[in-house]
């Protein structure tokens, strides 16, 4: 049993983990390809700072829960599996939420209920089901890391477009000339929910147009 496990890890440590890691970054990007975890994508991308925080928090939960699920994978069977996934995820989300409240209280206030809502992010439970419960620990770890980073990248792309058009700034620092906001050329609608839907729709269209395999 123990040697078997070791062999498996040795095999997985090489190329398999790497392919999984790279695949998550773009080829199977959570936002643009699989359309998973859309709620935070739309809700926290009005500015770049909350988007980055959200991406990092989600990556943390994703990596921890995928690793733990992978460690337990031989004990999980049948219907109870999904319940165990959810409980594992909820535990790590509670940890992430308490950490945010302690060290970044402003950001935690701003993100509000969207931090606990990471529990129901379909991306995380989807990875637990598709990868964590089947693959060895190392592969699951790198798969989760890749997926999480791909997700963060997607959040940042969306936030860049929205913050630039609405406030003329990036990460809170002005990059467009002051007149952009001062004389009211800025697109206030980009900060509002409507702007979120519009930006995501157009970005999805663009990514399909340029990258879809025929």
């Amino acid at each position: 049993m123990a040697t078997e496990e070791k062999l498996e890890i040795k095999k997985a440590g090489g190329p398999e983990a790497l392919t999984h890691f790279i695949r998550g970054l773009w080829e199977e990007n959570a936002i643009f390809r699989q359309m998973l975890g859309m709620c935070p994508v739309l809700a926290v991308t009005a500015q770049m700072k909350p988007a980055l925080t959200m991406g990092v928090a989600t990556t943390f939960v994703l990596v921890c829960s995928n690793t733990v699920v992978s460690l337990m994978r031989k004990l999980l069977t049948g219907h109870l599996r999904i319940l165990m996934f959810t409980l594992t995820i909820a535990t790590f989300v509670t940890i992430a939420d308490l950490l945010l409240q302690a060290f970044l209280p402003e950001m935690s206030e701003k993100l509000g209920p969207y931090v606990p809502l990471i529990i129901v992010n379909c991306l995380i439970i989807g990875r637990a089901e598709a990868c964590g419960s089947r693959k060895p620990v190392v592969t699951s770890f790198f798969d989760a890391l890749g997926m999480g980073m791909g997700f963060t990248f997607g959040l940042l792309v969306l936030a860049t477009v929205r913050e630039l058009l609405a406030d003329g700034s990036l990460f809170g620092a002005m990059v467009l000339p002051d007149a952009y906001v001062g004389q009211g050329f800025n697109w206030n609608v980009m900060k509002l929910p409507a702007g979120a839907f519009l930006t995501l729709g157009i970005l999805l269209g663009l990514s399909n147009y340029f990258f879809r395999k025929k």
Binding site: I82, L117, F197
Partner: protein, 196 residues
């Protein structure tokens, strides 16, 4: 303000002004996934409304009567998700027994109600806004109703979109999101209904 009018205000604000889908971005997955036909959208809306109302009420009771009195609020999220998961299991068994065709057409989306952010989101917002018991019941029911309304309108629009000539890259999710953006603009008109 009398208690009846305050309940009415909670109802209108949850169903229309702070619509879960369009302003809080909750429940986007079923909104994009199950809104292809009106009848399916309506079935989904009913299931979600039922689960939201029951779990909104139950989680209020667990949170306010049990967890807060023994000072274990940090278990909140875990307790909430357990209540929702068991409620969804109940609905799934009921639909499978009494409406088999509806059950088949939902496919994977029915068990996925558990991970529907609209439900957990409503429970969290009720906790965040410190609503009283009756207000919590009304708010969760209205939230579900608002979800049903929006997803049915979307189903109607998408049935007609099938005849439109949409650019290839935007077909599917792209055009649905852009439609949602325009719908959100329309719903912003409701925000003038309640002042002060």
């Amino acid at each position: 303000m009398t208690s009846e009018t305050s309940l009415l205000v909670v109802f209108i604000s949850m169903a229309l002004i702070n619509n879960l889908v369009l302003t809080k971005f909750l429940g986007i997955c079923p909104y994009l996934g199950v809104s292809r036909r009106v009848d399916m959208a309506f079935g989904m809306g009913c299931a979600v409304t039922f689960v939201i109302t029951i779990s909104g009420t139950l989680t209020w009771m667990i949170n306010n009567l049990v967890l807060q009195s023994i000072g274990m609020e940090y278990l909140k999220y875990i307790a909430f998700i357990m209540v929702i998961a068991s409620m969804v299991q109940l609905v799934e068994m009921y639909v499978r027994k009494f409406f088999p065709p509806l059950y088949d057409s939902f496919g994977i989306f029915l068990p996925l109600i558990t991970t529907n952010c609209a439900i957990l989101g409503t429970c969290l917002f009720i906790d965040l806004w410190h609503l009283r018991f009756l207000q919590a019941i009304v708010a969760s029911f209205a939230g579900g109703l608002g979800f049903t309304l929006v997803i049915c309108i979307m189903g109607g629009i998408r049935e007609n979109l099938e005849w439109a000539d949409v650019p290839r890259a935007l077909r599917g999710a792209g055009i649905t999101l852009i439609t949602a953006a325009i719908m959100t603009l329309a719903f912003m008109g409701f925000s003038g209904m309640i002042k002060g």
